[in-house]
């Protein structure tokens, strides 16, 4: 079905199921319980999961298949965001034109940058992309182009957001001075249906399902690219580019195409981010944001299909949930211990939560790289293997296959 092999189809269906059921899966704890802290099923974070999933899927097409490590992909995400906000400001609060323009503009930028950066490979390529991304960050953060033209393009440090007074030529005038909100033909992205089931609260957010649908489509496209002759070419580049050129194949058009495709995925993610939360700031283009997507991909499993999505979810969960645990909450958890012991345990755990979440993430990353070079996906396969061996030996986990 859909031109997919059986195991790929199964993987796609798993992703679809995860996306559809996320409000339940991410909210396993009843509201009001101590563990409610770990619930992640609120619209903002669910949207981030799928959007950064898209970002990582796209990055994986470049890094996982060709092995070219770009350190500047956040720049394309940022460009997409700015393009989308300008569509909101000038054309309409409908998200479709905004996302379309975000993809197109990010494609143009990645074509230009890729054309130059891909003249080199290895570390030089990485440094070139990093340099371009930092230049674009500086331009956006200080609004250099805007200043030069005596207007405002990126809004500088404050960022760019739609205002009541924007033209929006396709939309009706916003009634009674309300701030306009992004939507799709009348349905707002922030619209949610809240289902109270006893002590549990499940939120079904329109924006999330919209982004989720786009994520599933992106995932499907990525499977098709992985399994296509084009994908095979990209893998060939990764395994031995020199041999490939000796056989008379020019690798450059393939790498450039992969670079532009992954840039467009980043632009799509940037556009979606703005569609969910109509503000574009320059920080999302900073080099740490570029590093984050590299982490996501490697953590999940570079070159695997579902790995980047898992990695993205993992990192965003840490960033939003673990970072919220402060010392007051820790004391609540361990209040049942004797006082001295409680203080001791809190003192031991505290550096790893709250603003120390980077430390925990770093440790997890180290463990994964050392013990599971194939990322979380490899961990999953090993785990599944433990149970499978007894039944049948040849039934390979359909979850995924590494690129090499």
């Amino acid at each position: 079905m859909f031109g997919l092999e059986k195991k790929d189809l199964r993987l796609l269906l798993i992703v679809v199921a995860l996306v559809v059921l996320a409000p339940f899966i991410l909210n396993p704890f009843p509201v009001g319980s101590d563990l409610a802290q770990f619930n992640a099923g609120y619209p903002d974070l669910m949207q981030r999961f799928v959007i950064f999933g898209i970002f990582a899927i796209g990055f994986n097409i470049l890094f996982g298949l060709t092995g070219y490590l770009s350190f500047g992909h956040a720049a394309f995400l940022g460009v997409g965001s700015y393009a989308a906000v300008w569509m909101f400001k000038l054309l309409s609060m409908n998200v479709l034109p905004a996302i379309f323009l975000a993809v197109v503009i990010a494609g143009i930028f990645s074509l230009a940058i890729g054309y130059i950066a891909l003249r080199r490979s290895g570390i030089y390529f990485s440094i070139l992309t990093l340099a371009f991304a930092q230049m674009m960050f500086a331009i956006a953060y200080s609004d250099l182009i805007g200043n030069f033209l005596r207007t405002s393009i990126t809004g500088g440090e404050t960022g760019l957001q739609p205002k009541v007074s924007d033209p929006r030529i396709l939309d009706a005038v916003v009634s009674s001075g309300q701030t306009p909100t992004a939507g799709l033909f009348g349905v707002e992205m922030r619209d949610s249906y809240v289902w109270n089931l006893g002590d549990w609260v499940f939120t079904f957010n329109f924006g999330y399902y919209f982004a989720g649908l786009i994520m599933v489509i992106s995932f499907y496209l990525s499977i098709r690219i992985f399994r296509s002759p084009f994908g095979m070419m990209l893998r060939a580049i990764k395994s031995n580019q020199t041999r490939m050129s000796y056989t008379g194949l020019n690798a450059k058009p393939y790498t450039l195409a992969a670079f532009v495709i992954s840039g467009m995925y980043a632009g799509l993610a940037g556009g979606l981010l703005v569609a969910m939360d109509t503000q574009a700031g320059a920080e999302r283009m900073f080099w740490t944001a570029s590093g984050e997507v590299v982490l996501m991909t490697i953590l999940g499993g570079a070159g695997t299909l579902i790995g980047p999505v898992l990695g993205a979810g993992f990192i965003k969960y840490f960033e939003n949930i673990i970072s919220k645990i402060n010392s007051t909450i820790l004391h609540q958890w361990f209040a049942w211990l004797p006082d001295g012991l409680e203080d001791f345990i809190v003192a031991v755990i505290y550096p790893f939560v709250g603003k120390g979440w980077h430390l925990t993430l770093g440790l997890v990353f180290m463990l994964v790289v050392i013990f599971l070079p194939g990322g979380l996906v490899q961990g999953g396969q090993k785990f599944a293997g433990l149970f499978r061996r007894k039944k049948s030996k040849d039934a390979k986990d359909g979850a995924t296959t590494p690129a090499e």
Partner: protein, 448 residues
């Protein structure tokens, strides 16, 4: 493999449970009836404190957080009550807000607009916060204020000094107690003229972002109105830590005053560099070279150490004020934490009280009712004398303090002395003043 054994009883049971589950939302969905976002239950109400806990403004952020915790304690009837006792409005009685116990959640803005918005969204969507407050940077305040407007909750701005927060980026759901760049300029200019004369040439170093621009503009226009001349205005990157290359050209420019439109760590570094370059001992045009810092805070003065001695600036509030409100606040803050509060702590404490009071007077948590209660509200006893929350732009109007780095500090907190309390009339402006033009409040948004 699976062995199914449906019994009639089992099927009926499952059906009944599923039916009940599906029917629940129709009458348990509280916010469908109340008509606004995150309507609190009967026992508690949740406020969201969104402050920088990491990054360049972390000092201010952590002090804000202390003040918030103190405010919550006082609202719930704990401690000595602080400014509840001196506040001119007597609605708050230490039983929480409208009889609900005040709970809070905290978040880290990292002094980044994106991170601040993500943090605020999670407070609104996950924790059910009815009001968001905090911020120690104008960029963040503007971004979060816009978010709160869209989401339909009230935003009580913390330390944000840029004109834009209640100027071109003002929003109907956002309120600011802190003063702004224009007020700094208007309060400083007469004092500067009296001390340094009206024939001066100024050189500006300006932090390259929203707040820097409006402060530069405000100081420029109010000093130029007194006869000063602006020689040059140079933008410096916000992330700059060494300002030597920016200070070096100052002496050769013919300027005899340096205005540092910097805040936090930026100001500490640039002032230290300026002093190292001997600017304070220099003589230009037959006059002593002077340095001015438009926005001062005690935390900055502490960072810059002895370099701040004799340097003029303005501030929203200072702990050495002797009115009843300030004394009560310093007393309870000092008892709890062991040192006096900063102006950031003061403004956030006051904002929390003002919100609680407005809810009580309105008799509802509905953001539109709260906004109406705050608009045009006149109050006293919160440390700044008589204050007005102007309805046109949601900006507080009150006296502004002009301060100077103290020559002989008695202890590590006694770093600034108050030179003049500029009366409110002198810093009041029309809502459509050119420095604030270009925005509109819109109408309040109650959300759901």
């Amino acid at each position: 493999m699976s062995k199914s054994n449906f019994s009639r009883r089992g099927v009926l049971k499952t059906g009944a449970i599923a039916g009940a589950g599906l029917a629940l939302p129709t009458y348990l969905r509280a916010d469908a009836h109340t008509g606004f976002t995150n309507a609190p239950g009967d026992s508690e109400v949740i406020l969201g404190f969104n402050v920088p806990q990491t990054g360049p403004y972390a000092d201010e952020g952590l002090d804000e957080l202390r003040a918030y915790q103190l405010a919550v304690e006082h609202l719930n009837g704990g401690g000595d009550g602080g400014m509840l006792n001196t506040f001119s409005s007597k609605e708050l009685d230490g039983t929480g807000i409208l009889g609900r116990e005040v709970k809070y959640v905290t978040g880290d803005t990292q002094t980044k607009s994106d991170a601040a918005r993500a943090s605020a969204r999670s407070m609104i969507e996950k924790d059910g916060a009815i009001m968001i407050t905090g911020g120690s940077s104008s960029g963040v305040a503007v971004a979060v204020q816009a978010l709160c407007q869209e989401a339909g909750v009230i935003f009580m701005a913390g330390l944000t000094h840029s004109n834009d927060t209640t100027g071109k980026d003002k929003r109907a759901n956002g309120f600011r107690h802190f003063f702004n760049s224009y007020m700094s300029g208007a309060a400083l200019a007469p004092v500067l003229a009296a001390n340094y004369g009206t024939d001066r040439k100024a050189y500006h170093l300006t932090a390259d972002y929203n707040w820097g621009y409006t402060t530069e503009e405000a100081v420029k226009s109010s000093t130029e109105a007194l006869g000063w001349e602006t020689v040059s205005a140079v933008k410096t990157p916000l992330t700059q830590t060494d300002f030597s290359s920016y200070i070096a050209p100052v002496l050769n420019s013919g300027a005899d005053v340096l205005v540092l439109n910097h805040y936090g760590g930026n100001m500490v570094n640039s002032l230290t560099n300026a002093v190292q370059f001997g600017l304070r001992d220099a003589e230009v045009n037959g006059k002593n070279f002077e340095i001015i810092v438009p926005l001062y805070s005690r935390l900055m003065a502490k960072g810059a150490g002895a370099n701040v001695k004799g340097i003029f600036g303005s501030t929203n509030w200072h702990w050495s004020l002797q009115d009843e409100g300030s004394k009560a606040f310093v007393q309870s803050f000092g008892t709890k934490y062991g040192f006096p509060p900063s102006q950031a702590a003061h403004t956030t404490y006051v904002q929390t009280l003002l919100y609680a009071d407005a809810v009580t007077r309105a008799g509802s948590f509905n953001p539109c009712a709260v906004a109406e209660a705050l608009e045009g509200f006149e109050f006293d006893g919160l440390g700044n004398g008589k204050t007005l929350y102007r309805a046109d732009d949601h900006q507080c109007f009150k006296d502004v303090l002009v301060v100077k780095g103290k020559e002989n500090p008695e202890n590590e907190f006694d770093l600034l002395e108050i030179v003049e309390v500029t009366p409110v009339d002198q810093v009041t402006y029309e809502p459509d003043h050119p420095q604030f033009a270009g925005g509109s409040l819109g109408t309040c948004n109650p959300g759901a």
